[in-house]
Amino acid sequence: MLADIPILSLITFSPLIGILVLLLLPKQNSRWLKVTAVTATLIPLALSLWLYADFDGTLGGKPYKESVTWVNAALNKETMPDIASYLFKFQYQMGIDGISLPLLLLTTIVAVMAALASVHVKKRWKAFYLWFLLLEIGMLGVFMARDVFLFFIFFELTLIPMFFLIGIWGFGGREKAANRFLIYNGIGSALMLLAFVMLVMTAGFRVDQVDQQTQHVYYSGSYEVIKDNLTDPDSFVNAAPESPLHMSDTMRWSIFILLLIAFGIKLPIFPFHTWMLRVHAEAHPAIVMIHSGVLLKMGAYGLLRFGVFLFPSQMRDWATVLAILGVINILYGAVLAFRQKEFKLVLAYSSISHMGIVLLGIASLNEIGLQGAMIQLVSHGLISALLFLIVGSLQERTGTTELGELGGLARSLPFMSGILLTAGMASLGLPGLSGFIGEFLSLLGLFDSMRVLTAVAVLGVILTAVYVLRSVLAITFGPMPERFGALRDARLVEAVPMIALLAFIILIGVYPSVLTEPMKHGFDALLQQLNVKVGG
């Protein structure tokens, strides 16, 4: 029955309700603004849980597809008299599958938690929540858009609210951080746009035979059209090189590398990571929850959706490169995280390290690794959201996140310290918590093809323990400075999201099938193409 209503659009645009209500509220009434915003984020959560319950892994997302033609720009009508229409076609196309669904859930969950965590916001609540909800629309759209330009629009739609959210509500260096965020991500999305434009103009070509005489000839931004064209051996673009529509290897490689860089910046992959450090350190913790929890995942999602699925053979050729990048990410992030004196920077580098694992999972190009990468995405999203939730509450109380100034908080803040410790354990991949599953499956998957690299990556597992314990213990254990004696432990509004996030982390850790079931057949077609034999 869910298939009868445009559930995907409903989910995506449901925060609009909140936006409308917020617009009507007076801007001084922070209490009602907060309540409205949190309620508004609950709607997409409820809807997406409903969708999850309704989702059937064997069908994939077929029942939910939504498609409306958005822009039909006719190209030269004179020169081709026999052809009924010659168009550039661009659709509002939404879809969901096993790869989008977990990330969709992640987004809605983290959004609710971040909205709750925003209680610490001190000024301009109305604008804050407006941008916040707009950001949520963008994020939700990214994971469900099935037209490259629609994807791009949603992708950019996350950029603008983020700029404001970092730049207005951040800490001291917020403007610089916002600028960096903007420029880096701008470059990323510019390259992405470049790749998309090239993609549409090569692989987006399609002819629909209407009847004997008339054809609809168009360039389409539709993901399905592009994917069919690229992966179907009988399609135009795979025709003989003499054909004008043939897509050369150079073109494929160029697009692939462009996409890799574009999403690599977002992910972030090793040399493109510096922008996110400042964002982690300077943005409001509630925003970093979103940023680290969801936005980074968009990079990996894009890489999967457009890099792996559209260019499997290029991906296969470059799997080693990707794996090496992943290992560099893991070790580089871990070593630098070990060095940081500021907890937020530790977490920033830790994100880099953990995203390396995602790269490994992707590079494995088998079901185990890909599933591992997906789980790692969701898991890291939840864990880093939780960690920054705690960071927000800590900073609110102690006024600092410098490791050197903190210590012994397990005494005055036992609950929060406990959660922090558990989150740290999840982050370092403790079995029973979600981090382990992603890590393990990614490594397991990659081990099939790249033994030595995987073994090196396992070293990262040790280093992760080193830096996580170093920083978490520096905060919670050891002697406590006098001035922290009178701190109050978590309030209910803080404790609820902490417990909720932790519950999800444990749920995935104990029973990962909640995630793997819907994803089960998400990679079938891809694996067939790759001809990777798993289980032989």
Binding site: E367, G408, I437, M480
Partner: protein
């Protein structure tokens, strides 16, 4: 035979888990809950474990395995389940007994600690994890619980979190064992990809490696075995990853007894025993296990001689005894290793709890600040003495029989290792007598009136003492019960006959005698060796400078690398970014500089631009 209780063996770990959940959720509201709930859960587990054990003792009992699909991908499945074998049944009983006793003991020991419910929660979690580890039917499940016990150990070592030493020790414990775990993880990855059908369960592993069909190449087998052993080395504190175990003594003493003596540290031995077929398929791996074990046994025993902290002495003793067990396994004697594990669990737990009782009474851990406690703490002294004698291998206490079994095998298989074992046994007896005499004999020191603790603390001591006495008789030269039961009758120990027994007992007595001479009688000066060779004492005191070495190599190395990478991050990577940004700004500034307000300059630039365009674009056609 019907296996009624075995089918429900999965319940055994669940009692403590339930206790843990209960305590974490409501513990803060009900102070007294911890003792009750924790002990009750352990008791329930113990009862069930004993029932299972009795069931296993019947004739012709099949191993029982059951499980569920944990992670179901379309191409592969990962399962989690439990398997009851004789080995695991035995381990279940060991773990639950010690756990129950420690629960009871802690009621007294931790009475005044305000976080006692948290403590009980952690113990319950640990017990759950440890039981899970024992019951796990495949490598992955084992790994999961393997990590969980590590975390519990970490939490409990760092229980008194405000002490910087506790923090450091907890961190160290976790990280060092994590190094071993990494090895184990890689072993699992290897197994997964090499085993037919990606099977990870022990039954299949056993079949594949037993058959010697060459399904898995010899080199890979050795690699897998060694990597598993790396995991065991980390967990069981074998050289070179032993460094965390002595430091782990920063935790409350009951914890040291439970985790760092009886159960968790023995998990490494258990792991090797569980995957014994892999090891047996590779002689090289067996040799490595044997030599590492033997080296650790003597290495730790020598360090134990020079330590002054009561718990650290016991810790090094634990390391040394674990080395013994490893050696036994490496020499091919599964029974020897497990037998020693079995006896060691009780007498070492006894020693730790006894030490705890002492510390509880005198509030110090330095043996030189103790003395003459024997008269004031009779129960403690007696039970501790029994434990010490058992550890020293004095017949007919349990330690004697198990050590004898190992030495027998060693003599048979590798005389060099036999020698090492004997020397280690001598040192063991020596440092134990040193410890015992310094603490319990002589004149009382300190003003405090030390006395035995309440029954909650002494009762476990007594029970353990009894166990330390009797458990050895399950496997004696005349009675092969354990060996037959464990290995299905294929293995025999005590083949060496009387000679080994005599040597073993003799070195034990010799060691004790030497200790008596030095520390009670005073015939030999205490500094007899140290005055002549101060460097030796120092070397032993500083534990062969292994910690310092690691500090320099790894910690500093990591810091240095961090510094280097940070510089790279700040200057090279960010520098390139700044350069690119700077280039754009520079280009813009160039444009702005031309913007000097002179309209004629603009005209000149226009003209120049035109000329350049013509030359560049039209020019290439004509010139």
């Amino acid at each position: 035979m019907e296996t009624v209780f075995t089918q429900y063996a999965w319940l055994i770990p669940l009692f403590p888990l339930a206790a843990f959940i209960l305590l974490t959720s409501f513990g803060r509201s009900f102070k007294g809950l911890g003792v009750m709930v924790g002990s009750a859960a352990s008791l329930a587990s113990l009862v069930l474990a004993l029932l299972v054990l009795f069931e296993r003792m019947g004739e012709g009992v099949e191993d029982y395995q059951d499980g569920f699909k944990w992670l179901d991908l379309s191409t592969i499945q990962l399962n989690i389940g439990f398997e009851v074998t004789n080995l695991s049944a035995l381990m279940l009983v060991i773990v639950t007994i010690v756990s129950l006793l420690v629960n009871v003991y802690s009621a007294g020991y931790m009475k005044s600690d305000e976080r006692i419910t948290v403590f009980y929660g952690y113990i319950a979690l640990f017990t759950f994890s440890m039981l899970g580890l024992v019951l796990a039917d495949n490598m992955l499940a084992l790994y999961i619980f393997w990590e969980l016990v590590g975390v519990c150990s970490f939490l409990l070592v760092g229980f008194w979190y405000q002490k910087p030493e506790a923090r450091a020790a907890a961190k160290k414990a976790f990280i060092v064992t994590r190094i071993g775990d990494a090895g184990l993880l890689i072993a699992i990855l290897l197994l997964f990809w090499y085993m037919p059908n990606h099977a990870l369960d022990f039954v299949n592993i056993q079949n594949v490696f037993n058959e010697q069909t060459g399904t898995i190449a010899a080199g890979i087998t050795t690699l897998i075995a060694l990597l598993i052993f790396v995991g065991a080395v980390g967990k069981s504190g074998q050289f070179p990853l032993h460094v965390w175990l002595p430091d782990a003594m920063e935790g409350p003493t009951p914890i040291s007894a439970l985790i760092h003596a009886a159960t968790m540290v023995a998990a490494g031995v258990y792991l090797v025993a569980r995957t014994f077929d892999i090891f047996q398929a590779s002689q090289a791996a067996m040799d490595v296990v044997a030599y590492v074990g033997a080296f650790t046994a003597i290495f730790a025993a020598t360090i134990g001689v020079a330590q002054n902290d009561i718990k650290r002495i016991l810790a090094f003793s634990t390391v040394s005894q674990l080395g013994y067990m490893m050696m036994a396994l490496g020499l091919g004697s599964l029974t020897g290793g497990i037998f020693h594990l079995f006896t060691h669990a009780f007498f070492k737990a006894l020693l730790f709890l006894g030490a705890g009782s002492v510390i509880h009474a005198v509030h110090t851990q330095n043996i030189h600040e103790m003395g003459g406690l024997g008269s004031r703490m009779r129960i403690t002294a007696w039970t501790f003495g029994i434990g010490a004698l058992a550890l020293s291998g004095i017949p007919p206490l349990s330690g004697f029989w198990s050590k004898d079994a190992i030495l027998n095998t060693a003599l048979h298989e590798n005389p060099v290792l036999f020698g090492v074992g004997v020397v280690a046994a001598f040192f063991t007896a020596f440092y134990m007598s040193r410890l015992f005499f310094l603490v319990f004999a002589g004149r009382p020191k300190g003003e405090k009136q030390a006395h035995d603790s309440s029954w909650t603390m002494t009762l476990p001591l007594i029970i353990l003492a009894v166990l330390a006495v009797v458990t050895g008789f399950v496997e004696t030269p005349w009675n092969n019960t354990l060996g037959t039961w464990l290995s299905g009758g294929t293995e025999t120990t005590h083949t060496g006959g009387g000679l080994v027994m005599v040597i073993s007992a003799a070195v034990g007595v010799l060691g004790i005698y030497l200790g008596w001479l030095m520390y009670v009688k005073g015939t030999i000066a205490r500094d007899a060796v140290s005055s002549r060779m101060p460097w030796l004492l120092r070397l032993l005191e500083r534990k062969y400078y292994i910690d310092e070495l690691y500090q320099v190599v790894f910690v500093r190395g990591l810091r240095g690398l961090g510094l280097l990478l940070q510089a790279m991050d700040d200057f090279i990577i960010d520098g390139i970014v700044r350069c690119v940004g700077g280039a754009a700004v520079l280009l813009g500034r160039g444009g702005t500089r031309l913007q000097n307000g002179q309209v004629q300059t603009y005209g000149v630039i226009t003209l120049l631009g035109l000329v350049i365009l013509i030359v560049a674009i039209a020019g290439r056609r004509f010139w």
